[in-house]
């Protein structure tokens, strides 16, 4: 792994020689091959790459929804690859997640969706929950939509409700899985501005998985590029074509239209 420039903070997340493959024995497909990288605290890290390169797999490994075949996934100093269910539940309290399709509960209203983590994971009274949800709705310009169901919302509004729900428990790390898929360019820009604003306000560590290249780089303090099992880390997008990894150079050529050195 090569790191272009140094980031000041200690790592919130660390992958050490992680391998992950899928499929049955005869058709096993190695998605991540001895992958190592760190995500610094309080910064925004963007994980980019083509479809099927393992970006979402990395998110699921961070959340403990998948276990690596070998290697370690560390959250702070805790190795979640070997954790039991209960310990994993405690670590998951550190996370907020915005899923690709927002993963809102169809049968709950916007208000109930946002209030769900507060109702289930805190001892706040009904009134306190109402106040907190109302404040978040206002912050994310969703006031007036409390009683709507997810099916009645536009794509951009669903993402905002998903973000509101993800931020309710004041997470230390927020993971975004393809947050602008299906949105038009204007809405995409609005969502990026919202992400940047919320990250500045709340100071969480953000990990964004996206294939929206190069637009997504505007949000990034650190960029992790994945292609054909290889991975490289950058702090400056202009350095991407100069990667030491051939597969990353090839990817850079394809996405940025620049000749690799």
């Amino acid at each position: 792994m090569s790191v272009e420039g140094a980031l000041p903070s200690e790592p919130a997340i660390r992958f050490v020689d992680v391998c992950k493959s899928f499929g049955e024995r005869a058709h096993r497909h190695l998605v991540l091959d001895r992958v190592s990288f760190s995500v610094p605290i309080g910064k925004t890290t963007v994980i980019a790459g083509g479809s099927g390169q393992g970006k979402s797999v990395i998110l699921k490994l961070i959340l403990g929804l998948l276990r690596p075949d070998s290697g370690q996934v560390l959250i702070g100093d805790k190795n979640i690859s070997i954790m039991g269910y209960k310990a994993l539940q405690e670590v998951r309290m550190l996370f907020g997640v915005l899923f690709q399709g927002a993963a809102l509960f169809d049968s709950l209203t916007v208000f109930e969706n946002i209030a769900l983590p507060l109702r289930e994971r805190t001892k706040l009274s009904g009134e306190e929950i109402r106040d907190r949800v109302a404040m978040t709705l206002k912050q994310l310009e969703l006031a007036g939509h409390e009683e709507k169901f997810p099916a009645q919302l536009s794509g951009g509004m669903k993402k905002r409700v998903g973000l509101a729900r993800a931020l309710q428990l004041e997470p230390k790390i927020v993971l975004f899985d393809e947050p602008t898929t299906g949105l038009d360019p204007v809405m995409t820009k609005e969502i990026y501005e919202l992400f940047a604003r919320m990250q500045r306000q709340l100071g969480y560590t953000a990990v964004i998985v996206s294939h929206d290249i190069p637009q997504i780089f505007t949000l990034a303090d650190q960029i992790i590029l994945l292609n054909k099992g290889e991975l490289d880390v950058f702090t400056d997008p202009s350095r991407i074509p100069y990667s030491t990894k051939p597969n990353i150079r090839e990817f850079a050529r394809l996405i940025m239209g620049q000749a690799a050195v």
Partner: protein, 272 residues
């Protein structure tokens, strides 16, 4: 390559295929076993979701009353007519009440109730959980450190365990009414003989058998239907997306119906 040289390779492939299928079935059974364990643990883990339980009781229980009523009425009337024609040959029409009530309480009531609930509510539960799985809603629960078993599955288990025995009782009562209508009102069997025969032949043991069956069938159908939905992405040959949910829902109803029929025989053989 001649056929003799090819044979070991084909044989290996066949043996490998059988082993692979056996491993898949064992893994699937293991997953379903763990699923049942966590669902039952979720039943006893606070905080309890009373609102969700009431909602599920409404859906599984109250929502099934119409279909149970008509199935029971039709079954009871058919039993009354068939029973009358069989018993009439031996001049034993007075036994009609006994024959109808015992058949309904011990066999037809619990079995048909479970099959109807599997078809109506079981399929819906499987599809609901399956859609929640493929649209990442269950992953979202896990990411919020909310136990999906306690939040989502266990209220359905409890609602089925309460609803199915009550629906079975309703089935028995309506079925006996149907048998009375067909036997007494239509065919002219003596009303007193009908009820006296029923009172004389139905014992606590028969009622207990019906109740035990209804509990076991409820557990089987809710376990299989919610479990197949939960593991929709792990079921071999189910495909992806909406297609996988539709295939797995069909599979869940078929599997739970077969399980009910098999356990009906086993419980009768053991408990009769």
């Amino acid at each position: 390559m001649n056929p003799i040289e090819r044979r070991p390779v084909s044989l290996l492939r066949i043996v490998g295929g059988i082993g692979d299928q056996a491993l898949y079935i064992l893994t699937d059974l293991g997953n379903m076993g763990i699923f049942l364990f966590f669902s039952l643990v979720g039943l006893c883990t606070p905080p309890f979701r009373f609102k969700e339980l009431i909602k599920q009781l409404g859906f599984i229980g109250a929502g099934s009353i119409t279909v149970i009523f008509f199935t029971a009425l039709s079954s009871g009337m058919v039993l009354g007519l068939q029973g009358y024609y069989s018993l009439h040959k031996f001049g034993a029409e007075g036994m009609l009440g006994s024959a109808v009530s015992l058949t309904l309480i011990m066999e037809i009531g619990p079995m048909l109730t479970a099959l109807m609930v599997a078809g109506r509510a079981g399929s819906a539960m499987c599809a609901e959980i399956g859609i929640m799985r493929i649209s990442e809603q269950i992953d979202a629960l896990e990411c919020m450190a909310i136990d999906p078993f306690r939040y989502l599955i266990s209220p359905k288990f409890l609602a089925a365990l309460i609803s199915v025995p009550l629906l079975t009782a309703l089935f028995d009562v309506v079925g006996i009414m149907g048998g009375y209508l067909a036997g007494v009102e239509l065919m002219g069997v003596n009303s007193g003989a009908f009820f006296a025969g029923m009172q004389k032949s139905v014992t606590n043991h028969d009622l207990r058998l019906g109740v035990i069956k209804s509990f076991v069938f409820a557990l089987l159908l809710v376990w299989i239907c919610t479990g197949r939905g939960y593991f929709v992405q792990k079921i071999r040959g189910a495909g992806f997306g909406a297609e996988s949910v539709s295939k797995v829902t069909t599979q869940a109803v078929v599997m739970s119906s077969i399980a009910v029929l098999i356990f009906d025989y086993l419980l009768t053989a053991v408990l009769l």
